[in-house]
């Protein structure tokens, strides 16, 4: 099963809400994955198949190896769906 890590600056509020949205999006797309949320510092030492978050945050995780998904509107489920779908092909 794929592991998706949702990231924000504090790892408390917005990443958590995004996690709930990612779970909703996955359910609508009928995919299953393990979803969790954390702060930027912890994310740098975490393993996951996909890291997802707001553009300026997620860019800081780029090490050339990680799979990153950058969101413009973190509240938009259609955006989350369209950006996650290619990773489930």
């Amino acid at each position: 099963m794929k592991k998706i890590m949702v990231v924000c600056g504090n790892g408390l509020g917005s990443s958590f809400i995004m996690e709930l949205n990612v779970k909703k999006a996955l359910k609508e797309m009928e995919h299953t994955a393990e979803v969790d949320h954390t702060d930027l510092t912890s994310a740098k030492s975490e393993q996951a198949d996909i890291f997802i978050g707001a553009g300026d945050i997620i860019g800081q995780l780029d090490d050339g190896k990680r799979t990153l998904v950058s969101l413009e509107n973190m509240m938009s489920i259609p955006e989350i769906k369209s950006k996650l779908e290619p990773h489930f092909q």
Binding site: F16, I57, E72
Partner: protein
């Protein structure tokens, strides 16, 4: 038996909150594995918060001693995590009860009033519950009246603050899908109002090119480490090598010692955040699940960074001007015989950035600058005034950061004083 239930079980905040999580998970008909792990993690979350507090308080204590010696005034670091963790000992049970019943009142108020907001920023609910527990206790309430008054006030805050901001949030997001549920609301409202007076919303911040290099400050651990290192080292230089090496560091070099203390403070905040994260992860979905069933057509009220992507330049400008106001206030406060509020990068970054976005939507560039500056002054003066009213209740060295905590605290304590209760 009664004593076991009342004192040992319900009187231990970690177990109390664990029980609420257990009930929430059972109500959602989760699998037994989820129920066991969710309940255990909630209890563990509370215990981790206490452990983080122990780490942080040591460093805070040393900072206080150095600051006193250097400037002969008290320096206070506003940090919600720190004060809530410190308050766990004496106010943990009332905080936990007010948090849970406050969330229930939020659902009731969303059901029966036109304010259809469900406040989902769980850590802020926890902090506000703690502020209410502390201030109402100082005001002379205890037991059931304390919990009842605290819960009603918390529930009211959870719908009224998002409602106050919603006209602006609609303009920022161009939709009415969600609200901002973050207890820096008074600062954002003032920022939007100041923006309207001074600016022109046509000249938006988003036409300016701003370097992206300040983005690393959104990383809380980095921001806290950086601020504390800068402040610790500056204060250490003023306090002097001799004082520190004889009285505090046990002989090790004063700069190295200060650097380690600064990072210890940041490590304490990191541990506390891990605890809060564990706790919130179980309680918020249960709360939202129940609210969805009982109150249809509500809007979720969310943490402030959800509006950052709508105006990324205003975020950076807002942070800079809020922090600038914090630095200026640091020099003004002692002349008014108030405690010095050490400006923290975290409150100035998160609330300053959001204030910038609100100021920009009503007043463009000038609005973002002036509005965020007003927010910076607010989160420096309000905690200082709150400290005077809270008096000596053992939280020296830290206090609540964001504006609403201070405003609500000051209103409650003044009202209680007016009634002659405290």
């Amino acid at each position: 038996m009664l004593e076991l239930i009342m004192t040992d079980i319900l009187g231990t905040p970690s177990i109390l909150v664990g029980l609420f999580a257990l009930i929430g998970l059972l109500l959602q008909k989760k699998s037994s594995a989820d129920v066991v792990s969710g309940t255990l993690k909630t209890v563990m979350g509370f215990i981790i918060i206490g452990a983080g507090a122990a780490v942080l308080i040591g460093a805070l204590d040393i900072f206080g001693k150095m600051f006193d010696h250097a400037f002969n005034v008290q320096g206070v670091i506003p940090n919600n995590e720190a004060i809530v963790a410190t308050a766990q000992g004496s106010y943990g049970t009332s905080t936990a009860m007010i948090m849970v019943f406050g969330m229930i009142f939020n659902i009731i108020l969303a059901r029966i009033t036109p304010f259809k907001y469900i406040f989902l920023t769980g850590h802020h609910t926890l902090f506000m519950a703690c502020l209410l527990a502390v201030t109402l206790s100082i005001g002379g309430l205890s037991g059931i009246p304390l919990i009842a008054v605290g819960s009603v006030l918390l529930g009211a805050c959870m719908v009224l603050f998002p409602a106050l901001l919603q006209p602006f949030v609609r303009q920022i997001t161009g939709s009415d899908d969600f609200a901002i549920g973050h207890f820096g609301s008074v600062g954002y409202f003032i920022s939007a109002t100041v923006g309207k007076w001074v600016g022109n919303k046509e000249k938006t911040t988003e036409q300016i090119k701003v370097p992206k290099s300040l983005g690393f400050l959104r990383d809380t651990s980095v921001a806290v480490s950086l601020t504390m290192t800068v402040f610790f080292v500056i204060v250490a230089l003023f306090a002097g090598q001799e004082y520190i090496e004889t009285n505090l560091s046990g002989g090790s070099n004063f700069i190295v010692f200060s650097f380690i203390q600064a990072i210890t403070f940041a490590a304490g905040v990191y541990i506390i955040l891990a605890g809060v994260r564990m706790l919130i992860a179980e309680i918020v979905p249960a709360f939202q699940g129940i609210a969805d069933k009982l109150v249809p057509n509500t809007k979720p009220a969310l943490d402030c960074p959800t509006i950052f992507p709508f105006a990324p330049n205003a975020v950076i400008i807002g942070f800079l001007f809020s922090f600038l106001a914090g630095l200026l206030a640091m020099f003004v406060l002692p002349s008014l015989s108030l405690s010095v509020i050490v400006p923290g990068l975290v409150p100035h970054f998160f609330t300053g950035a959001a204030a910038g976005v609100f100021g920009n939507i009503t007043g463009g560039r000038r609005g973002a600058m002036a509005g965020a500056f007003a927010n910076g002054l607010l989160i420096s003066f309000i905690p200082a005034i709150l400290l005077v009213l809270m008096g000596d209740i053992g939280f020296e060295g830290t206090t609540f950061g964001d504006s609403d905590f201070g405003v609500i605290g000051i209103v409650i304590l003044s009202f209680m004083k007016f009634l002659g209760l405290s």
